[in-house]
């Protein structure tokens, strides 16, 4: 089980959290203006990297708040957490 650093509450066990998938997928401002390829891409395509992943978490059974994190998908190690809406931090692999 992962120990996840909630930026608001500190480290808590994984079962207190729900996973929100890849971060920074911005919904197109005018979906009707998208062609099928762009809309399909937004809905379904994912980076799914073997390496550093920017992802959303919610401390569902704690403070209830969403936050973003950079985690390495091979070691599962959390590298940094940051606020929803903030840009992805630069971090060396």
């Amino acid at each position: 089980m992962l120990l996840i650093p909630c930026p608001y509450c500190g480290p808590r066990p994984e079962i207190e959290f729900s996973y929100g998938g890849e971060a920074h997928l911005a919904r197109p401002r005018d979906p009707a203006a998208c062609d099928d390829a762009a809309w399909g891409d937004f809905l379904y395509a994912r980076t799914n990297p073997k390496g550093i992943h920017a992802e959303r978490w919610r401390h569902a059974h704690g403070c209830g708040r969403f936050f973003n994190a950079l985690r390495h998908t091979v070691s599962d190690q959390f590298l940094i957490t940051y606020r929803i809406g903030a840009p992805r931090p630069e971090i060396a692999a």
Binding site: L2, E14, G21, D36, G40, N48, P49, K50, T73
Partner: protein
């Protein structure tokens, strides 16, 4: 070097003559400079594809490149449940095609894959489960696929270890049974396809990781770079399961896939005690007994994307809780090993088998938690797709393009749980 044919006669001859024949079952050649087709990934699906390219389409200049060892991916890590009772017509056709091939596979490959149609029973624990399973049964029957409803007493008669005692948090209210479903020996499937493909001239190259996909000026594929040098090919089939996103990124493509760890575990071996396969999607457990006597137990996926090839302990213990409630006689059994594989999951829980936007690049992926059962059929239709440049009618609906046009094949109810 053609491998000797396995038969009762060879067995008897070897039993009474000198030392046993321990020669390799497939050749291990150095990579050649060029092939007609390069397959990336020597799991069951990749090897079956190579076999059908050679056996059915006469394309024998084929290399199967494997970064680790043959069958060391999900093929060698899965709980080997084989069944075809999927909901959607497209999926039922795909998995039923595979099930029919399973029935004759040992003969076709001259290799005992130990396919054992001992029956797959899926349990219902609440009103919703009953509705879902019955809907599957009716849909399957209309498609000519066997699937039947069992009352709790009938379920217990089919699988005597099943607990029907009162007071269970999730009582057994009935079950769907596919009698032709069952299990097969995962390693033997990989080895059997490897041996048969190698005998037809396919080069199987292990410890050879693909690190780049080369393109010509028109954008079509022209070959791959590997840890064992460059290899030219005008057609490339990616069959890399959990690593598909990584390989397709080499060609600049973002896939509708996420990779998750999925776990399984086995108990200490015991005498035959468990006659069939039992699955419970609702409480996340599935179980069968291997010929070695181990109980083979499948757990769920972790909640997050990962390539760690392990899984959280709480996921496995959750499954063991369910197993102990369903089969109290296993409560004192010790678990021997647990492990994880990385499964590639699509948004609609159906696989992707077909062309890609890159000319010459084909992909067979997205089998997620349940692709072992499809191995023979998947290899056959993917070989057709690569050989002819167009999908077979069976895999045509499973295009990558469905995530653009919206024609999804929603199997979430059947396949969102691990099996």
């Amino acid at each position: 070097m053609a491998p000797s044919r396995f038969s009762l006669l060879t067995l008897l001859r070897q039993a009474f003559s000198g030392p046993p024949d321990l020669s390799a079952h497939w050749r291990s050649p150095a990579p050649g400079p060029a092939y007609d087709v390069v397959i990336i990934g020597a799991g069951g699906h990749g090897l079956a594809t190579a076999f059908h390219l050679a056996a059915e389409h006469g394309i024998r200049r084929v290399a199967v490149l494997e970064k680790g060892w043959l069958g060391g991916g999900n093929t060698g890590r899965n709980t080997t449940i084989v069944r075809s009772n999927y909901l959607m017509a497209e999926s039922a056709a795909l998995y039923e095609h595979a099930l029919r091939l399973w029935e004759g596979l040992s003969q076709a490959l001259n290799y005992n894959v130990m396919y054992s149609p001992r029956g797959v029973m899926m349990l219902a624990h609440n009103v919703h489960d009953i509705a879902v399973l019955k809907r599957h049964i009716y849909a399957n029957r209309l498609a000519g696929i066997d699937n039947e409803w069992l009352s709790p007493a009938e379920a217990k008669a089919f699988c005597p270890p099943l607990n029907l005692a009162g007071g269970m948090r999730y009582p057994v209210l009935g079950a769907a049974l596919q009698r032709r479903g069952g299990t097969a020996r995962h390693d033997a499937v990989a080895w059997g396809y490897a041996r048969a493909a190698s005998a037809l001239g396919v080069d199987i190259i292990q410890n050879c990781e693909v690190t780049a996909i080369d393109r010509d000026r028109a954008g079509a594929v022209s070959g791959v770079e590997t840890t064992r040098g460059a290899i030219a090919a005008r057609k490339i089939g990616v069959v890399a399961a959990g690593h598909t996103s990584v390989v397709m990124a080499l060609a600049g493509l973002r896939m509708p896939l996420e990779s998750y760890p999925l776990q399984a575990l086995v108990s200490e071996p015991v005498k035959p005690v468990f006659p069939c396969v039992v699955m419970s999607n609702t409480i996340h457990a599935y179980i069968s007994q291997s010929d070695k006597g181990e109980l083979v137990i499948g757990a769920g996926t972790d909640a997050y994307v990962s390539y760690s090839q392990t899984g959280g302990l709480h996921i496995a213990t959750h499954t063991l809780d369910a197993i102990c409630e369903l089969f109290p006689m296993f409560r004192r059994l010790r678990m021997l090993r647990n492990w994880g594989g990385i499964v590639d999951v699509t948004p609609d829980r159906s696989p992707i088998i077909g062309l890609t936007p890159v000319p010459g690049l084909f992909v067979n992926c997205g089998w997620g938690t349940g692709g072992f059962k499809a191995t023979p059929g998947s290899g056959q239709v993917f070989a057709h797709t690569i050989a002819t440049g167009a999908p077979h009618p069976i895999n045509a609906p499973f295009s990558l393009d469905r995530f653009r046009c919206g024609r999804l094949i929603d199997e979430a109810a059947a396949a969102a749980v691990a099996h």
